[in-house]
């Protein structure tokens, strides 16, 4: 209790009517006579101070510590419960120490010389002693302070990562070796990250909002950055759309080639297969020579022949030259009339008809159709003719 005020101010004329009240008045008088700024005591405190009590100082509270500074009577230490020492400052508890009955270990703090770190150390009889920092409720443990402050860890191993989860102690991060950072799961190294000494480019993985695909990309200070994925030995590089989704190859956001569950689907004319066959072609191999370069199904149904849109690739037009003769003009030319390899297949309806090449040019193919019947080789219109073209372009 602070005795800074007169318990019997002028407006209260009577003397104290109890021993406690009288003692309080005496304390005020002493304060007044000695000039001390404060003077504090209780009857029981007095007993403790003069050593007549069976125990030491009183418990006190956070507002009135059992031991206080005379110049700061709400700062000191007190006993809030059995085996507990509490420190109070400004009438508020700031620190508490509790001793367990069977404790053998304890916390040691150590100050330091200049540039040396301060130390909080576990001490005791045990060989290995953990230190638990336990926030209350869902509180967090924050480490680090101002910008530039850092947290250091020991290297750790894949089996015992330096930073791990308390519920899964063999899963976390560790240092593999110099400049190599490792991520472990189930005690096994599962990912290793490193960098060249002057690296300026890196990976970036971005999570995205609903409906979008997360991105794995390369970023950095270079204007143009490639991406290399290497396999080891003869290992296969597999990209698997597990759910049966398409696999797109894009250029500036536009799909130029798509791999679907049934094969390859060109999205635009920019899909290229540049490889030229050398020696015996591989089974099922795709080369520039065996890619269809032109396709036109010509339907003749009364009037002028038409290219069926469902079977039309690289055709500009069909020209009706005569009965049983039409010319397809290709949008993209072949490399030469003599070597383009353009050919027509006799995919013809009715079945007793044939188609033949009348002439080839770099950008055109003229087809003659015949009915193999009594007309004996005379040009004849047929209902359907399918023209396929291969060759260098």
């Amino acid at each position: 209790m602070n005795i800074n005020t007169n318990p019997y101010p002028a407006s209260v004329a009577s003397l104290a009517t109890s021993l406690a009240g009288e003692l309080e008045r005496i304390r005020f008088i002493i304060k007044t006579l000695t000039g001390w700024s404060q003077w504090y005591a209780h009857t029981e405190t007095l007993a403790g101070l003069i050593g007549t009590a069976t125990s030491g100082m009183p418990d006190g509270t956070e507002a009135l510590p059992g031991w206080e500074f005379t110049a700061d009577t709400d700062t000191g230490f007190f006993r809030s419960a059995a085996n507990t020492i509490d420190f109070s400052a400004g009438a508020k508890r700031v620190f508490q120490m509790t001793g367990a009955a069977s404790a053998v270990n304890y916390l040691d703090t150590e100050n330091s010389a200049t540039t040396a770190p301060l130390i909080i150390r576990a001490e005791g009889t045990d060989t290995n002693i953990d230190i638990n920092i336990i926030p209350k409720g869902t509180g967090v443990v924050n480490l680090g302070g101002a910008t530039g402050s850092r947290i250091g860890l020991q290297d750790g191993t894949a089996a015992a990562p330096s930073l791990f989860f308390t519920s899964d102690t063999d899963t976390g991060i560790f240092r593999v070796s110099a400049n190599i950072f490792g991520i472990a799961a189930q005690g096994r190294e599962s990912l290793r990250l490193t960098a060249q000494s002057s690296a300026v480019n890196r990976f970036q993985i971005t999570g995205v909002n609903t409906g979008q695909a997360p991105t794995l990309e390369v970023v950095g200070s270079d204007a143009n950055i490639g991406l290399t994925i290497n396999t080891k030995g003869v290992g296969t590089l597999t990209l698997d759309t597990v759910g049966g989704g398409n696999m797109d190859f894009n250029n500036t956001g536009s799909t130029i080639m798509r791999l679907i569950s049934t094969g390859l689907q060109a999205q635009a004319t920019q899909a290229f297969i540049g490889g030229s066959v050398s020696g015996t072609p591989a089974a099922h191999g795709l080369y520039r020579q065996n890619i269809l370069k032109g396709l036109a199904r010509i339907d003749v149904a009364g009037g002028v022949p038409a290219i069926n849109p469902s079977s039309d690739f690289n055709a500009t037009s069909v020209s009706d030259d005569a009965v049983g003769r039409f010319t397809i003009t290709w949008d993209r030319d072949f490399s030469g009339a003599g070597s383009n390899g353009t050919m027509a297949t006799s995919g013809v309806t009715p079945s007793n008809s044939v188609a033949a090449i009348n002439s080839l040019a770099t950008g055109t193919t003229t087809i003659d159709t015949f009915a193999v019947d009594s007309t004996g080789g005379t040009l004849q219109d047929v209902t359907v003719t399918v023209v396929c073209a291969w060759g260098d372009q």
Binding site: D312, T316, S317, S319, T327, T362
Partner: protein
């Protein structure tokens, strides 16, 4: 397709008729623009189409049957079957049928000779009638392609 581009000779006969590919159409391109672009490229790539007049004709103004396609010709803003050419074509077809009967009669004469030659005179008359048949026909009296298509000459009866 509204129109097709016809490449025509001075006499109106058709060199070719160009129909664009639908897949050649650019996004939002009109029929006329598509036809012009495709036809220009087609003529440029086919030297045998060059040096002639071109005319765009509505497809509805063209014959709907190809029976006499090689006799099509430009008449004003339309393509029609040129009847003299169609008659020539039909007569050639009749001659072809006639020639087939003549070929068959060669075997009949040989067979008859082996059997004594009793039908030689009749067969010779039959063959002469076949040879004369085209000259006996007056296709000029047939005035429409449809009638020309259905016209069937009366061939002499084989003895």
């Amino acid at each position: 397709m509204a129109k097709l581009r016809c490449v025509v000779r001075v006499d109106g006969s058709i060199v070719t008729i160009i129909r664009p590919s639908e897949k050649f159409r650019l996004l939002g391109e009109s029929d006329d623009a598509l036809l012009d672009r495709a036809a220009t490229l087609t003529i440029q790539k086919n030297p045998r189409y060059q040096g002639f007049t071109t005319v765009d004709i509505e497809e509805t103004d063209m014959p709907t049957t190809r029976r006499f396609r090689n006799a099509w010709g430009r008449v004003g803003a339309k393509l029609e079957v040129d009847m003299p050419k169609a008659r020539t074509q039909r007569l050639a077809e009749i001659r072809k049928d006639r020639d087939k009967l003549l070929d068959e009669s060669d075997k009949d004469i040989l067979r008859d000779q082996e059997q004594g030659g009793a039908k030689q005179a009749a067969l010779r008359a039959y063959r002469q009638a076949l040879r004369d048949l085209p000259t006996t026909l007056n296709l000029d009296a047939i005035l429409t392609p449809e009638a020309l298509n259905t016209f069937r000459p009366t061939f002499p009866v084989k003895p």
